[in-house]
Amino acid sequence: MSPTTATAAGPRARAGAGRPGRRPVAPYLFLAPALVLFVVFLLVPIGYAVYLSLRGLRVSGAGPFGRREETFIGLDNYVTALTSTDFLEGFGRLLAYGVIAVPLTLGLALVFALLLDATTTTAKRFSRTAIFIPYAVPGVIASLLWGFLYLPTTSPISDVTQALGLGTIPFLSGSTLYGSVANIAIWGGVGFNMIIIYTSLRGIPAELHEAARLDGASELQIAVRVKVPLVAPAIVLTALFALIGTLQVYGEPTTLRPMTTSISQTWVPLMTIYRDAFTRDDLPLAAAASVLLAVGTLLVSVVLLRLAQRRAFGDA
């Protein structure tokens, strides 16, 4: 699987647990609670969703005695989901939102982490704590806070723009909306990712940049040429978190909905799935769309990891 796993167990563990005469039941007992929960709350729901997704209502029998009943209908629900404009437009919006949110979250997290690690800044403790604080604010509450900061009647930004005679900024309509929703995710995500990258930076042996410094490199050069390549794995990891987070965005637009008419009931794919399941009672279609979203997330993650492996780690 990987070098870490291969060497991880070590010769001692092998000798210890596999010793003749001692039947290795202990590891299974330690794993039992996790495995039971894994099966019941991950595998079984996935299996049940797949099963449901293959079913649907069909008229059986002929003529006046035909009845609608639930039966196997093959991949029809998948075809319906993949040709549904609501579902597909949701992915389009997700893309527009992700193109803003992911690079900015990662970029800002990296810049702040490098600044925290640099020798040329002060106010580090304060800044680190302040930037980390939004991590403690639930996405729904963050949306509520920003929602009020966007609303013309309560927004301090509007206070300023109105004083300047510029009118109010329509944060919650038109294409500005994407930026406004993305901003909530960026605000909530920068701190956590910054800490991950920063902790990684702290792990770089000091000699490495001391050497570069003696050679006359500036702080900026050291950051770009020495530090960034060395924390590439942490950056890949944060990219993965950000990407997975993007595909499952739900709480933010749902919370903003009462404040604007621009967010439809099917703004992102998860909202469409929710509507199909609960407003339209079409559980099979919702199940098919859930399966598609889960498989899509998995594929995106694996592709990203493969690419990163080739880029950052060589083909080792």
Partner: protein, 298 residues
């Protein structure tokens, strides 16, 4: 998988940088960027604290950052709303996040320890399944989990929110990584030679060594469960079982018709984020973020 693997491996003997580095002269621009970031992150929090002191009339009329006069009235109204529903939501959140994350940490620690310190048939298959689970976000499972809970008649109960949050593939993964690095095989072997049972070896010898990793997993799980919205939103229909996130959302959703509820939502938001921020700031020094960010190339 090795990209993820090497990104997450910890350096338990992390080469902590020598503290005595001659401080260079601070420069204005880099510091300004950093402070600007801090201000950006603090403004919404500051706003909600100020806004929570405004009476419903002041909210839409006075200058945004001017403190109002209605803080106590707002708090009274908040705790009186719906026969004390806000307090109930807070307790529910505490139950879902608190009990859920304690159980999750224990389950993950045992599983991670087993995967790290034993060789047994099926280990690699289990580990691979866990890795697959890491890449599958829990939220895409919320609807399938709801379908299942409905089938077995648990939808709407406390269990329907609590149970799914106990299993955390990422937590198991982190615990395995941490156990690999923090519990030396020699120590485990020595305990066995002294005649300790496998359970006693785990409890008395390994567990204390795993504690810093456990705190980290606990924090991640707690914040994750506290912030969870879709799962309780899908599972629960009885308002008295709502956690804070769903409860405050319901206030906001009703508020578009009834502006007084906006004030309640704002005060509720302020009251509910303060304890969590305090807890994070307190626990910050105990967590091992290097567990996540990792040593380079493991």
């Amino acid at each position: 998988m090795s990209a993820l693997d090497s990104a997450v491996s910890p350096v338990v003997t992390a080469p902590h940088r020598a503290p005595a580095r001659p401080p260079r002269q601070a420069k204005v621009v880099p510091t300004a960027i950093l402070v600007l970031g801090a201000v950006y992150c603090l403004v919404p929090v500051a706003w909600v604290l100020v806004a929570s002191s405004k009476s419903p009339g002041e909210l839409f009329s006075t200058f945004t950052f001017a403190p109002g006069t209605g803080l106590l009235d707002n708090l009274r109204a908040l705790f009186a709303y719906g026969d004390g529903q806000f307090l109930l939501w807070s307790l529910n959140s505490l139950v879902y996040a608190g009990i859920g994350s304690v159980l999750s940490t224990l389950v993950s620690t045992m599983a991670g320890y087993a995967l790290a310190k034993y060789r047994f048939p099926g280990r690699d298959a289990v580990f691979l399944a866990i890795l697959g689970g890491v890449l599958l976000p829990g939220i895409t499972l919320a609807i399938p989990q709801y379908l299942l809970m409905t089938k077995i008649g648990l939808a709407g109960s406390y269990w329907s929110v609590l149970l799914p949050s106990i299993i955390s593939p990422f937590g198991i993964y982190l615990c395995r990584v941490y156990a690999l690095a923090a519990v030396p095989d020699e120590v485990v072997e020595a305990a066995r030679i002294d005649g300790a049972s496998e359970w006693r070896t785990f409890r008395a010898v390994a567990l204390p060594m795993l504690l810093p990793g456990m705190v980290t997993v606990f924090m991640l799980q707690f914040v994750g469960a506290w912030n969870n919205f879709l799962l309780p939103f899908v599972m629960l229909s009885d308002e008295r079982r709502y956690p804070l996130t769903v409860g405050l959302y319901s206030l906001l959703a009703k508020g578009s018709g009834e502006p007084a509820l906006y004030t309640l939502a704002i005060v509720g938001a302020a009251v509910s984020i303060v304890p969590l921020i305090a807890m994070l700031l307190f626990l910050q020094r105990f967590w091992r973020m290097d567990l996540i960010s990792g040593g380079l190339k493991g």
